[in-house]
């Protein structure tokens, strides 16, 4: 039929561009990962080299730590913010607009501004904590091995929790009013409403948002790269930065490609299991 092909003609240009920019590079990564710099087939040698490097497992666990911890706090804070903004109070619209700002600003701006605030000598955060005696001496937040990762996670949480708030708030506002009314007839107080109505009703939104946060977390190079470049002593090296360094600092494209393949495979597995995990219980309920 004519209709068949017309539809395809409409979608084709966009699909060609995407195939060129996504499918082709992916296939090319696979090819690069099993070749040497002259293009000869070398089997799994690049993978062996990459896996033997001490930085690789370290970067892997750093990535898990960074993404995992970020998401936990992003979801908790974001949902709490959404429940707050779902209340009727004067100035709610303004508070809501302001809350979204951290998410809209460029990641690099967030990185530089927080780096300045966390500055060891002249940073406002050390001052705010030393002045009332919370800490005795200024802390080198971004140079100390034990504080640098939590600080970067905090910055990442600050940057992304508004996204959770926006999405969960939209979910909360679409909850039909009679659910609340039924609960009130049963004498439910506010916290019971939160627990038994709001949270269950926005579960699917939170699930979808979490998946996006996982993907974005795996992509989030900007903040870490701009502040520490993976240091000190690889303490904040995450796999995307390791790939970047391998390719553009060490100019080992083939090893970088091998690492990309591993990274991609792990990401796919995580996403796959996550989707399975969250789909099975709700599928049974329906």
């Amino acid at each position: 039929m004519v209709r068949q092909s017309t539809g395809l003609v409409f979608v084709l240009p966009a699909l060609i561009v995407l195939a060129m920019l996504i499918a082709y590079p992916l296939a090319y990564t696979g090819l690069l990962s099993v070749s040497d710099q002259q293009g000869n087939f070398v089997g799994a040698r690049n993978f062996a080299t990459v896996l033997a490097a001490r930085a690789t497992p370290q970067a892997f666990w750093n990535t898990v730590y960074f993404v995992g911890a970020s998401i936990v706090f992003q979801v908790i804070l974001g949902t709490a913010g959404a429940i707050l903004l779902n209340q009727n109070f004067t100035g709610r619209a303004i508070v809501r607009s302001i809350t979204i700002i951290p998410w809209v600003v460029p990641g690099i701006v967030a990185a530089t501004t927080w780096a300045w605030m966390f500055h060891t000598e002249f940073g406002i955060i050390n001052y705010m904590m030393t002045a009332p005696g919370l800490i005795e001496a200024p802390i080198g937040w971004l140079t100390n091995r034990d504080t640098v990762m939590p600080v970067l996670i905090a910055i990442n949480v600050w940057k992304m929790f508004p996204f959770v708030t926006v999405m969960v708030l939209a979910g909360l506002q679409s909850i039909p009013n009679d659910l609340y009314e039924a609960a009130r007839i049963d004498g439910a107080n506010f916290w019971e409403e939160v627990w038994h109505i709001m949270l269950p009703q926005v579960r699917s939104v939170i699930t979808a948002v979490t998946l996006l946060l996982v993907i974005w977390g795996l992509n989030s190079i900007t903040i870490i790269y701009a502040i520490t470049r993976g240091g000190p002593a690889n303490r904040t090296l995450i796999t995307p930065i390791q790939i970047f360094r391998l390719a553009f600092d060490a100019v080992q494209f083939n090893q970088a490609a091998a690492l990309s393949v591993l990274f991609f495979a792990v990401a796919i597995v995580i996403v796959f299991f996550y989707v399975r995990l969250v789909q099975s219980p709700s599928g049974g309920a329906r």
């Binding site: 539809g7 995407l18 707050l84 600003v105 690099i108 530089t112 000598e121 009314e181 439910a188």
Partner: protein, 283 residues
Amino acid sequence: MNTQVNTPTRTGMPLPIIVIGAILLVLISLFPFIWMAISSIKTLGELYTIPPSWWPAAPTLDNYYTVLFKSNIPRYFLNSVIISVGATGLALILAIFASYGFARFEFRGKAALQSFVLVGQLMPTAAIIVPLFITLRVLGLVNTFWGLILVYMIITLPLSVWMLTSYFRAIPVELEEAAIVDGASRLEVLFRITLPLSTPGIIAVLVYAFVTTWNEFIFALCFATDSSVKTLPIGLAEFSTEFNTDWGAVMAASLVMTLPIALLFLTMQKLFVGGLTAGATKG
């Protein structure tokens, strides 16, 4: 509003918690920007005093002078505008046709193609930096505006298609059918009826695509290494080393970079948030 009419005994969050929560939320979200603005009008001496002063004793615009007249930032600003506008426009054109195809036609493999578009959105970009770089180098597109504009399609196109498809679906098909009966072609229908009716969706897509490309860092870092095409985020990142981290100037440059995004967002906020959350609440 209507909840109060329906249920006078509305339970709600206790007022003190609302007040404290709202104040905390505003402070946490806004404080870095306030500190950025304050730092940007401090003199060099005042930036490096212990303890830091809350308000500059002698406010100065020197940092802005440095940023606007003694650095590459204006050039990078222009590059960013060109690349963001180009990538946004190109993504919109492609997305309009693709979304219309997905929303109004049935064809073989449609579901698979739609998931392919979504997968594009979900892919870790770090995994394709290397082959993209090599591809761009072969095509001679490294360090060109076209290179970055094309690469940004990866980020902007999938979500644009996704958002617009749901907008087009919401438009009653009867309107289009009436026009077709009157002898209009498919393209006429798209441009005369469907597009004007989905203006809010198109603006949401434009704002989303512009903001993401304006903020993008990693691709720009890899594919634009020459100062003739570098974008603002890269400029800001190198500013800290170029001037041995002149924090006052860095803060001024940050403010210059944030301002267009903040203004765009605050004016378009309703459409932007509406377009973004439309898919989430339907599903």
